[in-house]
Symmetry: C2
Subunit: 223 residues, 2 copies
């Protein structure tokens, strides 16, 4: 029984590490978006500087997960949790990478004229940040309802991105001086959309964990 | 001994499934790039149609890997192989997604004027296709030298993408009718760069497997 109990403690530690990574990634996303909207280069530099922390923690979490598999003979449900943790770890690190991409665009945008469609960034930023927060919460609390909300929000982000992209193309066509900042913003919203995709992956893993339903590559949401 | 032998057969089956997925993904990338360069909508539609095959095989490989972990008490090296397979499976499926993105851009490009920088696509396409092929080969044959070549090629792809992006911005500034096709091509080369990143991930996993060196998030290549 001592070993089983110890193993449960280790699983909690794994979840705790992922929560910690989730906080770092949330902060990176928040700051990178704020750097774009506030034309704040210092904030963008913070994101670039903190990338190494996220990268290190990713390796640490992976190694810890492998060690749990190697040292124990986990039960099927534990195995599933470890397996999901490895995937979620990967998704979180990618979100961190995407925040870094946004931060690079923020640095580039500071030296360019401000354009109208930039006003749309806060809204899509908030939508994506909320999805990320909810996806991490749904994993930590094993909450399938929160996970389903994340899946539902993904379509709204895609639609909003398409609408903003259309405005940006219009803005470029209006005045060629708008082209460079518009290209940067096209990639900012593309990166945000991809962060939302990763949050969706996390939510799908949570649904698989909590209900045993595999929703990857299926059009219908489980009820 | 019978069980051990059976387990080795299962590991070979896992590698075989990944090789199969690799072939599907290579074909998708090749066709999507050819659809862009040849302004061939039918080829792009093929890629969109075949996505479901890649998605199905991804789930099948994941399930098979989990079943191997659950039914056996694998040795450390086997565990590492299974673990790497799960990650490579994920990278391959993402490459398939990115080929689908390129195919969508190919469909959009067919109805637009042809622009000069499109002539640069075959070269970056071939570079990326070669990285993908080599990354899969390096995994199947456990070849660290091939994996190192993939890592080295990634920088060249990044540089070429930056150069083409600059040309595309210039092309947009020249004539506003070039804006829409240029935006499509900006995303084509971005998607190619991301495919190269996933091939790099695969190569890093192979180096980890064959040499036990973790090259993720390190600037220096192991010698």
């Amino acid at each position: 029984m001592g070993t089983v109990r110890h193993f449960l403690v280790e699983l909690e530690r794994l979840k705790h590490l992922l929560l910690q990574q989730g906080s770092l990634v949330e902060a990176a996303i928040y700051r990178s978006v704020a750097a774009v909207t506030g034309r704040n280069e210092a904030l963008a530099r913070d994101v670039l500087k903190n990338e190494v922390q996220i990268d290190r923690l990713e390796v640490q979490i992976d190694d810890f997960a492998v060690s749990l598999l190697a040292l124990q003979q986990p039960m099927a449900t534990d195995l599933r949790l470890i397996f999901a943790s490895v995937k979620i770890n990967n998704d979180l690190e990618r979100m961190g990478d995407l925040a870094v991409n946004i931060a690079h665009r923020a640095v580039s945008l500071v030296s360019q004229p401000s354009i109208g469609p930039a006003a749309e960034i806060p809204r899509i930023g908030e939508m994506v940040e909320s999805m990320v927060r909810k996806s991490i919460d749904s994993f930590i609390h094993g909450d399938p309802d929160a996970a389903r909300e994340v899946l539902a929000a993904d379509d709204d982000v895609d639609k909003l991105r398409t609408a903003i992209a259309e405005k940006l193309v219009g803005c470029m066509e209006q005045d060629s001086r708008n082209i460079r900042p518009s290209v940067d913003l096209l990639f900012v919203i593309k990166n945000l959309e991809r962060i939302a995709d990763h949050a969706t992956n996390v939510a799908e893993d949570v649904l698989f964990l909590t209900k045993g339903i595999d929703v990857r590559h299926h059009a219908e949401l489980p009820r």
